[in-house]
Amino acid sequence: MKFPILTTILLAPITAMILIMLVKETQTKLIKTLALVGSGISFVLSAYLVCTFDFQHPSFQWTEQFFTVPGWGIQFLLAVDGLSIPLLLLTSIIMVSGVLVTQRLTFRVKEYFALLLFLVSGAYGVLLSMDMFFFFLFYEVAVIPMFLLVNVWGSGNKVYAANKLTLYLLAGSALVLFGFFILYFKSGLYSFDLKALLDGNIHFDAGTQKWLFILFLIGFGTLAATWPFHSWSPDGYASAPTAASMLHAAVLKTLGAYGILRVAIPLFPEGAKYWQPLMLALGTINILYAAFCVIAQKDLKYIVGYSCVSHMGVVMLGIGTLTQTGFNGAMFQMFSHGIMVALLFACVGYVYDTKHTRNIEELGGLFKEMPRLSIFFILAGLTALGLPGLSGFVAEFLVIYSTYTVSPIYGTLALAGLVLSAIYILRVVKRAFWGVPAGVVSVGKGHGHDQGPILAGEDLNWSMSIPNYLLFSFLLVLGIYPKLFTDFVMQTTALLLKGF
């Protein structure tokens, strides 16, 4: 029997979580090491998967199957394909950097890392599970820990934010849940086996496809922060602790889009065609609306949060084109946006912990105070505004290109989004990073417990910037040589369109 590598990826964080729960609260070093080891194992293994993945082969690989529930069509089935494998890597990167970013945490360390590991195991589970039961199980596992992470370690209006985020996402997932049951029933398989469903050439009649597709679109779209179901996201991220925001914005939102690509598109081609105008419109509105919202914001975390929403619009638009290039672009954007937004949150989190304010009007001159941090923020910001040479550009280009092939009007509107993103990113850079350092630092009342006290104005040191380097290197490498990425998803995205 071959080594169950997928299961190990999934179990590593869970094991680490259990071990951490058994460790004494005071042994923070050990806890942090355990967390790092747990996430590191998954990282190494997913990197190994990426290296050995046969990307010429479009369908599932590394299938692992363990136990089943007789009579209910439930089985523990893990597999990866070109859709999940880049996101798997993304998750592990973000997790490792998230753990590294949080090295200074002193407040309730044990629970923090346990929850973080739990969350990430949910994310792995969603990507790996090819059974709807476990898919959904992990989907919610990924959503729930955020509630406590925001409530305990968060800042600002955290109670509201945590409730909104959790309830909103679970409401969205309720639609998905319902959809899964309908699939179970309507497919005639009476099984939750997603793989069988995808491979099975099951054709649903047009009416079913239409309403099921919109069900999944809204359900998964809520997690992907599709307008108008996005409002949980800025509030949630503004209040969440750094690593949680990173993981959530980078990985979980992506899972929403992943769900659409994984389930809705291949199963309901006619539904997808029917709702294509809606998807295009939603994607475009997402981009523009959220971009306008960012321009009016003053809170750094809100800015990043809304820009995240805006970028997810690109993903939605890419999916909405229903072309292979669009899917490639959407996948590329998921990956690139994930890394980028994680980097942004890492920087913003550091700024907040140092200056105890996130109001860009109170900040200023950060570039002078902490040049290294500022450079990372600016680079991530440049990715966000789609600067060539960084990965964001490639993604946005692919999506906009494919949008033009479908509808030049939406393409043009999406292009306009790029101007807006330039405006808002540069505005932040101008207000918060450039200029002279603000003299008086007002200490906010409800500052978070994310990290221990840091001397005002201290720049990132070498060890603290390791995660930033790690994240940025991916932005750069993929920006310079995007073929690395597109080769992976190419075959699988082609397969998604086989029903069209």
Binding site: Y168, V294, R427, M490
Partner: protein, 615 residues
């Protein structure tokens, strides 16, 4: 060998950039050395390449695939024909000279390392843009140029005006860039190939007239942004907030040159759309005229030069639009040299007048405190800009005039003459005022010897090129640019007209500014309403501000509002509704047990009735 030279010229600056990035923070001096020496190597390599490759029959092509999707593929690499070669060399050389000059200019700036890092990056981006094999790849570097210029204009970010100018430059050019991007996308969709060689040879035949017009229009939108054409030129004068070498670089061989170069590069494609050509010509002429007028009353030396850049760029664009790519390109080249020289000189004069940009402040400085060499070069540059024989500016302008006359574009010709007159007037106004002998006693700045070289060498070299460059290379240039400089009757007619116009301009400037007493506004004050329009800058800044404030920020506020009052309110209200529902439902649970039973009995009776009377 030639390919290697090309590699060197392209990557010398990039290497410098990388090295500077990884140098420790404290190694400031060494980063300057690295930048200048690498740029020098690049300049040298490109010059050698120029001589070796200029008459080569085939362009250098070197390609690596970059991104592939089902219907198209994008490559990066080199496509170096003579056009690119000439541009490459001038970029390399001018950039090198400006970096050398920066050694003096930026001597006391603590952030030198950042400056040199960015400027080498800037140069690299421009060079890569010039030699790019593929229009898509061109776009990549086109954006990087925008980024670098943004970083350089905002280099002194402590100044609020510099921050604002940087953003303005980036956003406005980006607005244009998106047109470029859309054009690239449309080209990929329509012809599945964006290789330059393909575009300038075959693409045109595969496109309909409308498609062509759209694509040309979109590309020109990019050009309008980058090359500061009406109505997007307003960023350029503001960009003077950057350090002077940056202005020199932006206004000569990089950034703004990119737009015109793109037009020339794609000329065979653009040419096919006559409507597009008319449009380009019109916009070029309009921008040229407007910005020339704006320069008439300007007191800030750098801004005068900036307006003149806009004006000259408009002139080039107009020429290209009129049908002579060579006219535009040649003028771009000559203009690059003397304009960069003028900017470098302005740096010196600003320094000499204790960091005042105002030419009338410079006039107050006694003549003995101004370097004679610099004054001489200032006049050379000014007259070249005015287009006076025998300077390089004359040659390139004459070429355009000659073409216009030859092709009977009399309307354009007269516009060009007007511009020429205005240019002559305001440049010589600037030169007259700056070279006045003032009486303000100021302490004399001394420039240390090493730095003196860094100051003098670049300007002198540029001055020499301005005076003699075109004559030295005349045969080559004539062959390549197919200059309209045959010594025939038309030439002399043209020569007469233009020289008269230029001299008139200079003469009027002398009347107002060359003599002992002078008026600030000159003759402009006599034209009713003109000074008002100039003061309002033709309402263009106001317009763009309104777009920003009312449009973008207005929409932003609307978004903010709807976020709070629609999207969030909707969600919150769902929550409130649930709670209200809870309160309503618990009213049933009033504590009286008999009421509970009544409810239960009623429901049971209802069920019983249902069961009794169902179907």
């Amino acid at each position: 060998m030639n390919l290697n030279l090309l590699h060197i010229s392209v990557f010398a600056n990039f290497l410098a950039f990388v090295v500077i990035v990884f140098l420790p923070k404290t190694w400031v001096k060494r980063s300057v050395t690295v930048a200048v020496s690498f740029a020098g190597i690049g300049a040298l390599a490109s010059t050698i390449l120029l001589f070796r490759q200029f008459s080569a029959p085939a362009p250098i092509e070197w390609v690596i695939p970059w991104l592939k999707w089902n219907s198209a593929q994008v490559n990066v690499g080199y496509y170096l024909d003579t056009l690119a070669l000439v541009m490459l060399t001038s970029v390399c050389v001018i950039s090198f000279l400006i970096q050398l000059y920066s050694v003096w200019y930026m001597n006391e700036d603590p952030a030198k390392k950042r400056f040199f890092g960015t400027i080498t990056f800037f140069t690299w981006a421009m060079i890569s843009f010039v030699v790019s094999v593929n229009l898509f790849a061109s776009y990549l570097f086109w954006e990087l140029i925008g980024l670098a210029s943004y970083l350089l204009i905002g280099f002194w970010h402590e100044k609020a005006s510099a921050r604002a100018a940087a953003i303005k430059a980036f956003v406005m050019t980006r607005f244009g860039d998106l047109g470029f991007m859309a054009a690239v996308i449309l080209l990929i969709i329509q012809v599945h190939n964006t290789d330059i060689s393909f575009l300038i040879t075959q693409a045109g035949s595969q496109l309909g007239q409308t498609q062509l017009l759209i694509i040309v229009g979109l590309i020109f939108l990019g050009v309008m942004g980058k090359s500061a054409q009406f109505p997007l030129y307003t960023w350029l004068p503001d960009a003077m907030e950057g350090p002077t070498p940056v202005s020199a670089l932006i206004h000569s061989a990089t950034m703004v040159a990119a737009g015109v170069f793109l037009l020339v590069r794609l000329f065979p494609l653009i040419e096919l759309s006559s409507a597009g050509m008319h449009y380009i010509c019109f916009i070029g002429g309009l921008s040229s005229l407007l910005t020339a007028i704006l320069a008439l009353l300007e007191r800030d030396m750098k801004r005068i030069l900036a307006y003149s850049t806009c004006s000259q760029l408009g002139f080039m664009v107009m020429a290209v639009g009129a049908g002579t790519w060579s006219g535009g390109m040649f003028h771009l080249l000559t203009h690059a040299f003397f304009k960069s020289m003028l900017f470098l000189l302005s740096g010196y004069f600003i320094f000499a007048s204790h960091h005042s940009n105002d030419i009338f402040d410079m006039a107050k400085v006694p003549l003995k405190d101004k370097s004679k060499l610099m004054l001489a070069l200032l006049w050379i540059g000014a007259l070249a800009l005015a287009g006076l024989f025998p300077l390089s500016g004359f040659m390139s302008k004459e070429n355009i005039f000659g073409y216009l006359l030859e092709h009977h574009h009399y309307g354009i010709y007269s516009v060009a003459l007007t511009i020429s007159f205005l240019t002559a007037y305001y440049t010589s106004r600037m030169a007259f005022v700056v070279s006045r002998d003032g009486h303000h006693q100021m302490e004399h700045h001394t420039i240390s010897k090493g730095l003196n070289i860094a100051l003098r060498v670049p300007v002198t070299v540029l001055g020499l090129v301005t005076v003699a460059g075109v004559w030295v290379f005349f045969p080559w240039l004539k062959e390549f640019f197919q200059l309209h400089l045959e010594l025939n009757r038309e030439f002399w007619l043209n020569f007469g007209i233009t020289t008269t116009v230029v001299l008139t301009g200079i003469g009027i400037a002398y009347l107002y500014f060359g003599r002992k007493t002078f008026s600030e506004k000159g003759w402009v004050g006599f034209v009713p309403g003109l000074d008002f329009l100039i003061a309002k800058k033709f309402y263009l800044d106001i317009f763009w501000n309104a777009v920003m404030q009312k449009g973008v920020y207005g929409l932003a506020k609307a978004g903010f509002w709807s976020e709070a009052h629609i999207v969030n309110a909707a969600v919150n209200n769902v929550g409130y509704a649930c709670v209200r529902g809870g309160k309503a439902v618990t009213k049933l649970q009033a504590g009286e047990v008999q009421r509970y039973i009544v409810i239960a009995v009623l429901v049971i009776v209802a069920v019983v009735l249902y069961l009794t009377f169902r179907g």
